[in-house]
């Protein structure tokens, strides 16, 4: 029937499976590099800081579109500069007709933000339509900051608890270091390039956590399986074997995710470009950390070698 119509053909097994890349040989280097990256990110965060968006900094953002097709940024700058609203940023956004105006948080609480918005809208006058308005008052922005931090921390904790439950504490320790690395380095990149950091960045960070731990779990599953299979193999060698065995999957899934994210980044529109960019960066960092941080850490921490059924019984409910 229908199945006969589908041609039988093999896919391209692009991956040289007899290749054994010596990942573990470079584990010291990789971990040293990651530690440097984390420290550099922290230093950037504390010295250069983050370019917070309206969500976290408060203030207003207005996206305008010129009705005649071309926005006159310098004229707008002149008009809005006279209002005495402190820092008003005007930049081209997307096409030539669009501009994005950012007004820094005004002193005087929530009502003051609305007053500033009203002034700007009046000063801009006709000739522009409002495409998007975002105003976040001081109370809400500080709440969003707090929930953002809590959400990322809770995300890490929940994942670690899950990994601990399914594996052993060494795996959970590896996961927590890898996840912290992912978050820190992404934040560091945001600080270095001063990309806007807002609520959607936090959502992207959480998704990255999910993706990164996904990779870590796949490698960990294989490590556990190999621990049962090769009871006498040297741990570092075993870890290296597990990474290599799952490498074809890691690369293929990574390439698929990156392809999709690049499509979203290029065609998905200006509004979520930031979000897609974060995810793109995060997927790359997350893949790196599973291979070069989570697994090698097991080599340092050591791991239980007796995974026979008697030893496992009563501990983790693993069936594999």
């Amino acid at each position: 029937m229908l199945m006969k119509l589908i041609p039988n053909f093999k896919g391209i097994d692009f991956f040289p499976h007899n290749l054994r890349l010596p990942f573990m040989r470079y584990k010291d280097l990789a971990i040293a590099l990651s530690v440097v990256a984390m420290l550099a990110s922290l230093a950037l965060y504390f010295t250069r800081g983050l370019n917070y968006g309206v969500d976290f900094k408060g203030g207003s953002m207005i996206e305008l579109q010129a009705t005649n097709g071309t926005a006159d940024v310098s004229a707008l700058r002149d008009k809005l500069g006279k209002l005495g609203l402190g820092g008003v940023q005007i930049q081209a956004f997307g096409g030539p007709s669009d501009v994005l105006i950012r007004i820094e948080e005004q002193p005087g609480g929530d009502a003051a933000q609305q007053d500033a918005l009203k002034k700007v809208v009046e000063a801009v006058g006709s000739g522009y339509t409002q495409r998007r308005v975002e105003v976040v008052g001081p109370a809400v922005s500080s709440e969003l900051r707090t929930t953002g931090i809590i959400a990322v921390l809770c995300g890490i904790l929940a994942i670690v608890a899950y990994v601990w439950f399914r594996f052993e504490w060494q795996f959970a320790a590896g996961a927590v270091v890898a996840l912290t690395h992912d978050v820190l380095v992404t934040v560091g990149i945001f600080s270095l390039f001063q990309f806007e950091f807002d609520l959607s960045t936090v959502a992207a960070l959480l998704t990255i956590l999910g993706y990164s731990v996904n990779d870590t779990v796949v490698v960990s599953d294989r490590i556990r399986e190999n621990l049962r299979k090769f009871k006498k193999m040297d741990l570092n060698e075993l870890l290296n074997l597990s990474i290599n065995e799952t490498l074809s999957r890691t690369i293929l899934t990574g390439v698929t995710a990156i392809a999709v994210l690049v499509a979203l980044y290029i065609f998905g529109g200006e509004v979520i470009r930031n979000f897609n960019f974060t995810m793109l960066v995060g997927v790359i960092i997350g893949t790196y950390s599973s291979i070069f941080i989570a697994a090698p850490l097991l080599g340092y921490l050591g791991v239980k070698r007796d995974w026979s059924d008697q030893a496992v019984k009563g501990a983790a409910p693993a069936k594999a």
Binding site: I159, V213, L261, L264, G269, V271
Partner: protein, 539 residues
């Protein structure tokens, strides 16, 4: 593992069909779907404000003001009940958030306490019973003083009821902006969220909800002017109010109004028949009309004040008793402002001023642009996934693509059926979900290849591939689910949409990428010609 019972096959096919039926309306225009017969599902997915355009306003109530109003009202009640009980007092003042009564004779203390305790109201509900009182009444440290202190529970209850009545009032006011599916809901303790799809311009909305619009009618002090009172002392029970509009000076008015704002039954914009000025025509309800009639009858020749939000609009002289319960307010209004004020007055006063603490408005053109951008990105991303999967896994790759299609359809169907909202990050979540779902197939197929390399027979390799990979798939999906849950909890609007899409995507991907693909492979196995050499697995 590769054997499916009849019932199971039927269940899988029915699930897929149901998915198609529920997802289908999303691919047609609204007016086309409306013509469909009523027995097919016609529900379409809700689009978030970021996709269809609209306004999102988060308002905060002023807790301090609610507290102050309560204590002020309490003072009036205390004064009344002590007078009624003929207990003399020499002082009654507000200290911070509590009220202190100083009795004229300390020996009246017990009688006063008994009288004042009647003001206490229990808090609670019919089901759970009372959970405390709204007031703490205790003797003060000085002899002959009594302190009345609002409790935290009482305050909470006040805020709750203020929120409920604010929501009603806001709803009534914004209904005047046109028929639309606007929603007004409470958020947290003291906040109200307005979501207004399709609204292009928020300035009128903001003006409508920007005033409390409390209209009251007050007695003007018969002999002392505000200027005199400022120099000497404000007589007890009176307060200085500033004028607005035509009335430039200050007024000394009795604080308790003759007719409170709640007694207003109707208000309409109109014009003064004599000078053509824009005015508000109002009408009291029965009790208001009676109070106003009685007051104007006794005070012919004296002025009274019409006060809006603590500002005196006008202070006309009472020329004759007004018994009909209706009247006219002038106050140097524009036609636009009388129209708005009439709406506000008809809708009732807000219990407290609402401040906008967060605003997110998306114009309809941006929303439409986002939808088309999301579609383009989705299609291109989808094509990339399809090409990569088929290139990597051949015939089995085609099965995986079918699984992805089922995954996508079921996700859309579930989102439509539970009425969740699709946001722009939600579209990203949908596309990303496809990439994550493909991971399940990658895990399975890589495993099959590995088992084949290890020398297993084709069928046992497929079997082992599904079995071994499933544990890993479940583990990885559950961790992603954890993140999605946290995002939902953190979430405001669009991000919640992303979390919901991600969650549904995870749930459907196990069925689509594992069960459906396994079924397809089992059919493929059956279709292979027997006895023509060893079976080649096209993976």
């Amino acid at each position: 593992m590769l054997h499916f019972s009849r019932m199971k096959i039927l269940a899988i096919v029915l699930t897929c069909l149901a998915g198609i039926v529920f997802a289908l309306p999303n691919f047609f225009a609204k007016d086309v779907v409306a013509k469909w017969p009523s027995f097919v599902p016609r529900q379409q997915m809700n689009l978030g404000l970021d996709l269809q355009g609209g306004a999102h306003l988060l308002l905060a109530m002023d807790q301090e003001e609610i507290k102050k109003d309560w204590v002020t009202n309490l003072r009036d009640s205390v004064r009344r009940s002590l007078r009624d009980a003929k207990i003399g007092f020499s002082g009654l003042g507000i200290q911070g958030t509590q009220l202190q009564v100083r009795l004229a004779k300390p020996e009246d203390k017990d009688a006063a306490l008994k009288e004042l305790r009647k003001l206490i109201q229990p808090i609670g509900n019919a089901i759970l019973g009372s959970s405390g009182n709204d007031l703490d009444i205790s003797e003060g440290t000085e002899p002959g003083t009594i302190n009345l202190k609002p409790t935290d529970q009482g305050m909470k209850a006040r805020i709750s009821s203020a929120a409920a009545s604010s929501i009603e009032t806001v709803n009534r006011r914004i209904n005047n902006l046109g028929t639309s599916e606007s929603s007004v809901v409470r958020q947290g303790t003291d906040r109200i969220l307005i979501q207004f799809p399709g609204l292009k311009e928020t300035s009128e909305l903001k003006k409508l909800i920007g005033e409390t619009a409390k209209l009251t009618f007050h007695e003007v002090h018969p002999s002392t002017s505000a200027e005199d009172a400022k120099l000497t002392a404000v007589p007890p029970g009176y307060k200085i109010y500033a004028g607005t509009g035509d009335e430039s000076g200050d007024f000394l008015l009795r604080e308790t109004p003759v007719v409170p704002g709640e007694d207003l039954a109707d208000a309409q914009p109109g014009f003064d028949s004599r000078n053509g000025e824009a005015v508000i025509n109002f009408r009291f309800n029965q009790s208001g009309a009676r109070k106003f009639g009685a007051y104007t009858k006794e005070n012919v020749g004296r002025p009274f004040a019409i006060v809006l939000d603590d500002k005196v609009l006008s202070a006309p002289r009472i020329n004759e008793p007004i018994l009909g319960g209706s009247g006219q307010i002038s106050g140097n209004f524009s036609v636009e402002s009388t129209t708005r004020l009439a709406v506000q007055l008809r809708s009732g006063a807000l219990p407290t001023k609402l401040t906008i603490v967060e605003e997110r408005t998306v114009g309809p053109s941006l929303g439409a642009d986002s939808v088309s951008a999301g579609q383009t990105a989705g299609i291109i991303g989808g094509i990339a996934v399809v090409v990569l999967t088929i290139l990597a896994y051949g015939t089995f790759g085609i099965f995986a693509v079918v699984g992805l299609l089922v995954h996508l359809i079921l996700t859309l169907a579930l989102m439509t059926a539970i009425g969740s909202t699709l946001t722009l990050p939600g579209i990203a979540g949908l596309v990303l979900g496809v990439a994550m779902a493909v991971d399940a197939n990658v895990l399975i197929y890589e495993r099959i290849r590995e088992e084949l390399r290890a020398g297993k027979t084709p069928i046992s390799a497929i079997d082992a591939g599904f079995q071994r990979a499933f544990i890993t798939i479940a583990d990885s999906q559950l961790t992603t689910l954890t993140c999605a849950m946290i995002m939902f909890w953190l979430g405001s609007g669009p991000i919640r949409g992303f979390a919901v899409t991600l969650t549904i995507g995870i749930l459907t991907s196990i069925f689509a990428s594992v069960t459906v693909v396994r079924l397809l492979i089992s059919y493929w196995l059956k279709a292979q010609p027997k006895g023509r050499g060893p079976l080649e697995i096209p993976v």
